[in-house]
Amino acid sequence: MHYVLHYGQIAPYLPYLMGGMAISLALSILSFIGGMVLGLFFAVIRNEGHPVAGRLVRIYVAFFTNTPQLVQIYVIYFGLPDFGILFSPFAAVLIGMTLNAAAYLTEILRAGLSTVHAQELDAAETLGMNRLQTLRHVTLPHLFKVAMPALTNQYILMTLGTSMAAIFGVEELTGRAFNINSTTFRSIEIFTTVAALYVVVTFIATILLALVGRWAFRARVPVL
């Protein structure tokens, strides 16, 4: 066994890999934002204890957290065309990831919502804030603060999960790594480089999420 590492051989492919990274990032950011919007909506419904809507949300969460994400995307990409609904590989993965993320984020955000102090809500009410203002100024900043570690973890998992898009032919980071591997056969160099790029992306994402929390909601979360 005598293998000599030649990272130089894959250096020309770095711009190509960076392009793939941009697609991975787009998938993770868009599905995270979509999942946050849906998840927040569902979490509020569950927290308000609405009997019918609350139960529907519970069923939704149970379904998406108890089935593999890959199977969910298979259903969207290969199953829905039978009903005349066709999506591009990118759109199918994006929708699948968003719906899946919404289920997990519902649970994360619901747990966070339940820790908002009743006294702060009383104060918001008596100061004259309406529900939206209370959400914006009191609930969300608190939520962001307490749920930030869990949200960051979820986002990192989603970023890493974008690699499954390669299965559907989306040329994101892992997909492009497959392509380079099939022409250079420098598997170790390629996949260790890709792994390093994922580390860089998730590290940057952690910092960005903390900054977003600070900027948008004045949430007091440590950047690192």
Binding site: H117, A123, L127, H137
Partner: protein, 245 residues
């Protein structure tokens, strides 16, 4: 016309009646204190007036205008005139002191940010916290937090201020600083409805004192009467127990 006029107010928590027909009329600039044993309905009365617990019966009128607690616009109008300070301060933990004070006037009353900031700074200076503008609530002592809460309520420019046991959560050393702040408000001629267990303070600042028990005002009169010559046996028992300690 009474500044705050309460007629036949009834409130319940689940099936328990906690306010059982409260009649109370407060004139502009008057300071009325509510005293009584725990569970007598004092804090609940303030919660009902401020709209946190809808009344089952009765009316509350502010300067002649009856508050419709089922109508958010009516409630909103009442909150322009009436503010409450809570026992547990209820400051927003994610905001610094200055923003805690400014958030409602700027975002709800839509007042000019610069003007509000100047007023907030002046109010915080008045309550002795000019050097804590950028501190967060968890960096302050209980007494300091309570003074921020008072400044926050005052920045709304209310006509009436409700104070709900504002010193109960404080250690004895901090009680004085908050009471001094309230005395300052009393000197400013603000209408105050105070729930307090600080009998010395109640006696000193109040124009009238109402003794509550079992969800009713059992007796009301000037401090000299309530603490000196109470008429009702329950008031006598309460006062002698309190003053005996």
């Amino acid at each position: 016309m009474a500044h705050l006029d309460i007629r036949g107010l009834v409130a319940r928590y689940n099936n328990a009646t906690v306010l059982d027909g409260i009649d109370l009329s407060i004139e502009r600039g008057e300071i009325v204190s509510l005293i009584g044993p725990s569970g007598s309905g004092k804090s609940t009365l303030l919660r009902v007036i401020s709209g946190l617990l809808p009344p089952r019966a009765g009316t509350v009128a502010l300067a002649g205008e009856t508050i419709n607690y089922a109508d958010r616009r009516s409630l909103r109008r009442s909150r322009d005139k009436l503010a409450i300070v809570f026992q547990q301060y209820n400051l927003f933990g994610n905001m610094n002191v200055l923003r805690n004070v400014m958030v409602a006037p700027v975002t709800i009353q839509k007042r000019d940010k610069k003007t509000v900031e100047a007023e907030a700074c002046a109010l915080l200076a008045k309550v002795g916290l000019a050097d804590k503008l950028n501190a967060y609530p968890d960096e302050l002592s209980g007494g300091q937090q309570q003074r921020v809460a008072i400044a926050r309520a005052l920045c709304l420019k209310p006509d009436i201020l409700l104070l709900d046991e504002v010193t109960s959560a404080l250690d004895p050393e901090r009680v004085g600083e908050v009471l001094d702040t309230v005395k300052m408000l009393a000197a400013d001629n603000m209408t105050l409805l105070i729930v307090s267990h600080e009998m010395g303070f109640v006696r000193e600042v109040s124009h009238r004192v109402a003794f509550m028990a079992d969800g009713k005002i059992q007796e009301m009169g000037p401090p000299a009467q309530i603490f000196g010559t109470p008429q009702q046996p329950r008031t006598q028992a309460f006062v002698s127990r309190i003053l005996g300690h």
